[in-house]
Symmetry: C2
Subunit: 388 residues, 2 copies
């Protein structure tokens, strides 16, 4: 028996939402609570993630506000912010608290609005995103996140011969997956040719190598493992690993290792008592196509240097040996920063339950979520498993 | 034996610091580590608080950055933000994780720069602070935090006859305490007359009823209780309570109760196995003089309605029956938002150790910290006790 289980999962469509953060979060929260069959009054705590509400909408201290909105005022709730790994960190802390017996039932989730509904256009949002890089050593150089991942990916191309065509294959795969996801920001396919003809954002990335700015929310209900059998469709939490890496990029020992992801994956696999080979599929943090290549290697789905080859050969597609990003990933599903971590947990939960229809991974018993923040400076890796 | 103990405490001077956030945090962190006799390499985790770095300095995802700066890159570290209750929430989560056996040794702390060194002047900082109030119902009305606490305090005056002179006595007391604290932002005394002659900020608050904008950092080392005896000067964590309340102000059931503080105090006292009467002193969140009056009642140091009287009678001064804010409180010590919560834990630790010189509370065996965020929407109450 696992010490914690996910018994409810919900998310909004990712895309453009011109509504308040608390209402957007509420939609995901109530979907998760309804899915679990849990009343708001039964919750012991709320673990909440939002990355940039202060900068985008002058909204901080959102924890009590979203709790009030869903009728849970009074509960202990705190906001987590760890750039793009924001709500995976909320998930980690919730799981630890439930496993420790501090809570029986906790709601975990995140929300973000990144589109112009915040009043901020692309250049200003890009500056805000860049706040997660190094303030003294990176921001003054003009480095923004397409550049951060372009540098990591260029190094991978130099060391391993990864090609722009292989990167494009990642986008093609994830867009194809996204066509089967009704909550995805992009529901249309693309082609290698279309990707390679796009305008350059940061060499080697073209427009279609980059995930979109999205609005959205996601939430899951986490419960103590000993309560799991009283719920309809529990999915066990096998393990959660969390590690950081040195900031800035220039200080990293190895640019293509994304060492925090390796450390987090090792910790998660060890806690779950598995190896990477035991995992059936993964949701990884493909903010850029190159990021998926690095992630697929860091979590042990592809040998080092072969992440691009694996994608190009279709080994990580829905019909391949081990699918990556069946949801469409950040690339096609979308990337509302603070919602992305728990949205990955939503996808793992639904895949393991076998309820996702055309994008269902065959025999999806063990799923891995890889949620990265900043200059690959934070990664949380979670393992979810079929309930035993 | 308590399940967790504080074995090291450190903070910078609170005031004006024209240095980077990671360097400022590093000063507090290294002071705490040296105090504990713990090497950075012995740490298992870092729990980090910063409230407004994104808005003030375009700095988010600070966790890995401060970890890198103190030589702890790789450790799990996440940023907490809960307005003024930011680092008390980091402390709560660290204590829970240590108590659960997830970590043996964790560093907890926070940092903030609120003075014009951020490039932001008072009006812009006031707008940023207001981001912790309700975005839709309060911010558009022009309500800022002096106004939030003025409304709560006016209601207390209406219900209980609390006077401006009594509020002034809180400022006089905390400034007197601050003269004995070498790390305080204000080291000078004030008088009731001086307070009452100050310019009105938000009726009934005059300038000297308000805490200053400060820069600073604080940190404590939290360890598993079974390791406490191997350290020189452990202080036990008796309990930590955390609750929230409905937002906005207009929806609160009782404006003067600060219900989250009552709920958090009840939880902390129950966990510690004490009542309010067993506590010897407290550090409370006196962002405004009226806030201390409400806090002293919410944590059970004064009967409801008598917080002002207690202050005016000197019962909460260093020479009174139960001192409140021997450090000088936010009012005189200063209030670098994200550093305030753990700074209260620093003061409790040093008071219980009996090492604070002229501001020493007699027989300080049980101390209470009350750290509040937003529209009294979050409160964390911690009980620290002499090691047993």
């Amino acid at each position: 028996m696992a010490d914690a289980a996910v018994v409810g999962a919900g998310m909004t469509e990712f895309g453009v939402h011109d509504t308040t953060l608390q209402e957007l979060f509420g939609e995901a929260a109530f979907t998760a609570l309804n899915d679990a069959g849990v009343e708001t009054g039964a919750l012991d705590a709320l673990y909440f993630g939002n990355a940039m509400g202060g900068q985008t909408e002058n909204e901080t201290h959102l924890g009590p506000r979203v709790a009030s909105h869903i009728g849970a005022a009074g509960l202990p709730v705190q906001r987590f912010e760890d750039a793009c790994a924001t709500s995976a960190n909320a998930f980690k802390n919730a799981v630890q608290a439930v496993e420790a017996g501090v809570h029986d039932i906790a709601l975990v989730g995140g929300v973000e609005r990144c589109t112009p509904v915040t009043g901020k256009e692309t250049p200003e949002m890009t500056r805000i995103f860049a706040s997660a890089s190094h303030r003294q050593y990176e921001q003054p150089t003009g480095l923004t996140f397409p550049g951060v991942f372009a540098l990591l990916t260029k190094r991978h191309m130099h060391e391993h011969g990864t090609t722009e065509e292989q990167l494009a294959e990642v986008a093609v795969k994830n867009h194809a997956h996204g066509t089967h996801n009704p909550r995805a920001h992009f529901g249309k396919e693309t082609t290698v040719e279309e990707v390679l003809e796009g305008p350059v954002v940061a060499d080697p990335f073209r427009l279609m190598d980059c995930c979109p700015f999205s609005d959205g929310a996601s939430a899951v209900v986490v419960i103590s493992g000993d309560l799991a059998d009283s719920f309809d469709a529990p999915v066990d939490v096998g393990g959660v690993g969390h590690a950081t890496d040195v900031v800035p990029l220039g200080d990293k020992a190895d640019l293509t290792a994304t060492q925090a992801a390796r450390d987090a994956a090792s910790a998660a696999y060890e806690e779950a008592g598995i190896t990477a080979d035991d995992a059936d599929f993964a949701e990884v943090h493909d903010c850029f196509t190159g990021a998926e290549v690095l992630a697929s290697e860091a979590i042990g789905f592809a040998p080092d240097g072969e992440g691009g080859t694996y994608a190009a050969e279709g080994r990580t597609s829905l019909s391949g040996d081990r699918p990556i990003n069946p949801s469409g990933g950040l690339k096609a599903k979308g990337h509302p920063i603070g919602a992305t971590g728990t949205a990955q947990i939503v996808e793992l939960t639904e895949q393991i339950r076998g309820t996702v229809g055309e994008r269902q991974v065959a025999d999806a018993d063990v799923g891995v979520a890889h949620n990265l923040g900043g200059d690959a400076a934070t990664t949380v890796v979670s393992v979810l498993e079929a309930h035993s």
